[in-house]
């Protein structure tokens, strides 16, 4: 290590910094990009080690062009977050091929910082921050190391030094964080790329949700103002599906329907939802939502909340819901018919069964009960691993397999309702949630995804019927794990069985939730509240910018004043300035003073080369030496020196 050359040492630092910046991108970059970058880095290190010549201009240009074309081919674009990052990573690694001077290294370090920024465009969670901060630190240390002349000294000194520098920058960063105007809209908008977040889809085929339940990631977190509603009332409405082709339920494209009014009963539940990015255009709310930020979303005819743009960052919103309500006491004919449609000729046995059962029952209500009783009392099983269903999925499920997940039951139940003339639809969303006692909030995970039915009955309006609850009431009361047989593979079952792991998981989630609420979603609203507490009423962003500008200017002025005082010119330094002026005058006449040349030695040379000015030069030199190096020099001496230098005409 110690016999590394300067070039190798610089290169190693820069490559390390770049690697730290590129590493978090590896998960979303196409494989060949990462592989190429790594290969180029390794080759460059080897070339430095072995002293191989670097490729010439032509080779470099060709390689760069090829890389650009490859990105264009691989990503079908050269701009946009993914393609841009790929291009940046490739070009950074190729830049290594022509990196020799400290300046080249500096460019690379800056590219590294830019890549760190790009990481935050992808994700802003705690893990990303925990990775990016050290990467930024490492890059700063690399930059320092590049600028250093010598290789000696402690190896970790750059880290200590830049660490101290970054720490000193923290207060400024905090001020900027708190007061930097949060501009609404897309000025700072993160480019929303087509990214695949796992989440509820807009359609439901048998088996869909069971895949989702294997996913333990957090969908959203909810903080209730009061006590949370009981588990059986925790239905979070998502996509509502009304079109059925015999196998798959989809949402309708028709949007002309009028939203039936809702009558709210009982006490409301107020809460704040922090939604993880879904890349979908909806917010989730507890049934039935009464208030939500109207600027963020509008309510569709099926009561779900629509957002104008897909959710690509963490969003936070407050909402108020009533768990007791009557929705749509009156139903328009078209709306009603829409919810009765069944595909022609599909699932004939189910339709036949529905007719028979309905005829045996006196009323719609008792028919619903009868169907639920059928699910409950006959041999129907709730399982995550249902057998594959035939084209007529409902028939196959009801009469052959009889094993299914919430989607199967909801689909079959809705079909049976429609066949008996009861308006019905399938509702997707989340049910339940894990209560985090440490943070006092509810964690709703992808594994809480659920599907249920909604039927319309006169006077009662749209009411929720969860056929899964009939088969496996535990699913609704305590969650998925309790409802499934032991043999089924359920995410986090091990986690939930170990109390310690479960608690640790909750603690970690709590930290993440706080990070989301206080860092990522430190929104304009919170900023406003903070400012109001500081005495600014209703500040707009112009005021904010002004405030920040004034604050920063004041801070910098104060700093400058301090520096000016600390390094104020002393009398001796004024003498040094005059003397420098004297040497500059002589250097114009071709007598150059070497930086290390002592004034009297210089005077000797002046004497030899310019005897005509020797006397003045001697006087200036003596005065300068007296002022700068001898005790007891006076203001008068300085003035005399200045006068002499001013009059000096070599």
């Amino acid at each position: 290590m110690s016999n590394w050359t300067d070039g190798m040492r610089r290169l190693a630092w820069t490559v390390a910094g770049l690697a730290a910046a590129v590493a978090p991108h590896a998960q979303h970059l196409q494989r060949w990009v990462t592989a190429t970058a790594v290969a180029v880095c390794l080759w460059r290190l080897l070339a430095e080690h072995r002293g191989w010549p670097l490729p010439g201009k032509l080779v470099r240009g060709t390689v760069a062009l090829c890389a650009t074309l490859a990105v264009a081919a691989g990503y079908h674009a050269l701009t946009g977050l993914d393609a841009g990052t790929a291009l940046l990573v490739l070009m950074a690694s190729l830049k290594l091929l022509e990196t020799r001077s400290p300046r080249d290294h500096m460019v690379l370090v800056f590219i590294g910082w830019f890549l760190c920024l790009a990481t935050l465009l992808y994700r802003q969670d705690l893990v990303a921050a925990a990775w990016v901060l050290p990467a930024v630190w490492l890059l700063a240390a690399s930059l320092l190391n590049v600028s250093r002349r010598a290789s000696g000294g402690e190896r970790l000194r750059p880290f200590r030094f830049t660490g101290a520098m970054l720490l000193k920058a923290v207060p400024l960063a905090l001020v900027l964080f708190m007061f930097f105007p949060r501009l609404a809209g897309s000025v700072w908008g993160v480019p929303s790329d087509e990214k695949s977040y796992t989440g509820l889809s807009e359609e439901l085929s048998p088996g869909d949700i069971s895949e989702l339940t294997l996913n333990d990631t957090v969908a959203f977190r909810v903080r209730f103002d009061g006590p949370p509603p009981p588990p059986r009332e925790r239905y979070w409405r998502g996509p509502v599906m009304t079109e059925f082709d015999g196998f798959t339920w989809t949402r309708t494209r028709a949007r002309a329907y009028f939203r039936p009014p809702v009558r709210f009963l009982g006490d409301p539940v107020s809460y704040t939802v922090t939604l993880e990015p879904t890349s979908q255009r909806m917010l989730f709310a507890l049934d039935m939502v009464a208030d939500w930020p109207r600027s963020m979303a509008e309510q569709g005819w099926d009561y779900r909340l629509w957002t104008p743009q897909s959710i690509s960052t963490v969003v936070q919103y407050r909402a108020r819901s009533f768990t007791r309500y009557v929705a749509g006491e009156e139903l328009l004919a078209g709306y009603r018919n829409h919810h009765l449609r069944l595909p022609e000729g599909r699932n004939p046995r189910a339709v036949e069964l529905a007719r028979r059962m309905r005829q045996a029952e006196p009323s719609d209500e008792s028919y619903v009960e009868a169907v639920l009783a059928m699910f409950r009392e006959q041999e129907f099983y709730y399982t995550l691993t249902p057998p594959r269903l035939e084209r007529d999925s409902v028939d196959d499920f009801l009469f052959n397999t009889r094993r299914g997940f919430c989607g199967h039951f909801a689909s079959a139940f809705t079909t049976l309702m429609r066949a008996a003339g009861i308006p019905a639809r399938v509702v997707g969303g989340y049910q339940g949630g894990d209560w985090n006692p440490l943070g006092g909030y509810l964690i709703v995970r992808q594994s809480h995804a659920h599907a249920w039915s909604e039927i319309w009955l006169p006077e009662r309006g749209w009411s929720r019927v969860d056929p899964t609850a009939a088969v496996a009431p535990e699913r609704v009361e305590t969650g998925l794990q309790a409802a499934l047989p032991e043999s089924d593979l359920v995410p986090g079952r091990l986690l939930r069985q170990s109390d310690f792991l479960w608690q640790a998981g909750l603690a970690w989630d709590n930290v993440n939730a706080l990070w989301n609420e206080w860092v990522v979603k430190f929104s304009g609203e919170q900023q406003e509240r903070l400012l109001e507490r500081l005495g600014f009423e209703a500040p707009d962003w112009k005021q904010l910018a002004l405030l920040m500008g004034v604050g920063l200017t004041a801070a910098f002025l104060a700093l400058s004043a301090w520096f000016a005082w600390e390094f104020r010119p002393r009398r001796a330094d004024a003498a040094a300035r005059s003397y420098r002026r004297f040497t500059v005058l002589l250097s114009r006449r071709g007598i150059e003073r070497a930086p290390h040349e002592a004034p009297r030695d210089f005077l000797e040379r002046v004497r030899r080369q310019r005897p005509d000015v020797a006397r003045q030069a001697a006087a200036i030199t003596d005065l300068y030496l007296a002022l700068r190096y001898a005790p007891g020099a006076t203001r008068g001496d300085l003035d005399r020196l200045r006068g002499l230098v001013r009059a000096f005409r070599p």
Binding site: A598, R600, D601, Y629
Partner: protein, 315 residues
């Protein structure tokens, strides 16, 4: 104020007279003679490194004569023992107690001739005395006389039968000078002139120990401005940045540098320490404390010091 100035000019006259006397014996070595005197004034010790027979011993002896100091010469040989330097305790039958017999180190000017011929054990006995300015034998400390000035001479270590002084020991010498061959005219004068030994015996004392001690106390009072201390620090820092040298100058080295520069400025009658004073003593003060970074680098101490000097602009 005038009294001070008078005293200062009287001191200078004395010093100039001393230099003049020395120059009569040691011909053509004005700079080395002045450096030796500056070294004494800065309360340092002097190492003279050169081949035998160029006047090392003569210079040391002349210094003792002119400065009026008691003089002892210790010829270092490979069988020299520490007791031969510092002295020994002998049982006195009359008093029935051990009596310490002082060794040759108890002199105001000690010439340690060919110091690198002795074993490290004997060398360190002398060097410890230099550092502590006292000798401890059988748990009893014996202070050395004031002033105490060691002039050590050393043959170039490529000669046979030498134990080169280790770096840590070299650091204890304030200055290391080389005498070199005399110029042709001076050599001719030496050949033609009287025998140096006779001249030495006839050399009058210009100074006395009390005056020298008083002068030594004046040296640290010599004004060193902030700008000059900046320069010392800039030099030290440059030696430590690892580009040229294996290890940088120690704090002792930077203090020595400033002291020597003060003594030089004092000797030359400057009102304060000037950058040229610092530059004048730099080669002899730091030369022997620097090791080139590259082991294959054959530059000697003066060249290394020169390289350092040229690398640092005067602030």
């Amino acid at each position: 104020m005038n009294a001070v100035r008078d005293k200062a000019s009287r001191d200078r006259e004395l010093l100039d007279a001393a230099v003049a006397q020395l120059n009569q014996v040691v011909l053509g070595k004005d700079r080395e003679v002045r450096l030796a005197l500056a070294c004494l004034l800065a309360r340092g010790h002097l190492l003279i490194e050169d081949i035998p027979g160029v006047g090392k011993t003569t210079l040391a002896h002349a210094l003792a004569r002119v400065l009026g100091l008691s003089y002892q010469r210790i010829q270092f040989t490979s069988d020299l023992l520490p007791a031969d330097i510092i002295g020994v305790s002998v049982y006195d039958r009359g008093t029935g107690a051990f009596q310490f017999h002082r060794g040759p180190v108890f002199a105001q000017l000690v010439l340690a001739d060919e110091v690198n011929r002795a074993t490290p054990k004997a060398q360190s006995a002398l060097l410890e005395a230099m550092e502590e300015r006292q000798v401890t034998v059988d748990g009893e400390s014996h202070p050395l006389p004031e002033p105490f000035f060691v002039v050590a001479t050393q043959n170039p270590s490529y000669q046979v039968g030498t134990f080169p002084l280790p770096e840590s020991q070299l650091d204890r010498f304030l200055m290391r000078i080389e005498l070199g061959y005399p110029a042709a005219t001076h050599e001719r004068a030496l050949l033609r002139g009287r025998d140096r030994r006779d001249m030495l015996a006839a050399l009058p004392s210009v100074l006395d120990p009390e005056t020298i001690v008083a002068l030594q106390h004046l040296v640290p009072e010599m004004h060193a401005s902030d700008a000059l201390v900046d320069y010392v620090q800039a030099l030290t820092r440059a030696s430590r940045d690892g580009t040229q040298f294996q290890s940088g100058l120690s704090t002792r080295a930077s203090i020595s540098l400033l002291r020597a520069a003060q003594a030089w400025a004092f000797l030359n009658g400057h009102p304060g320490v000037l950058p040229e004073d610092l530059q004048a003593v730099l080669p002899v003060v730091v030369g022997h404390r620097l090791r080139p970074r590259d082991p294959a680098d054959r530059r000697g101490p003066p060249e290394l010091a020169r390289a350092l000097l040229e690398a640092v602009p005067i602030p």
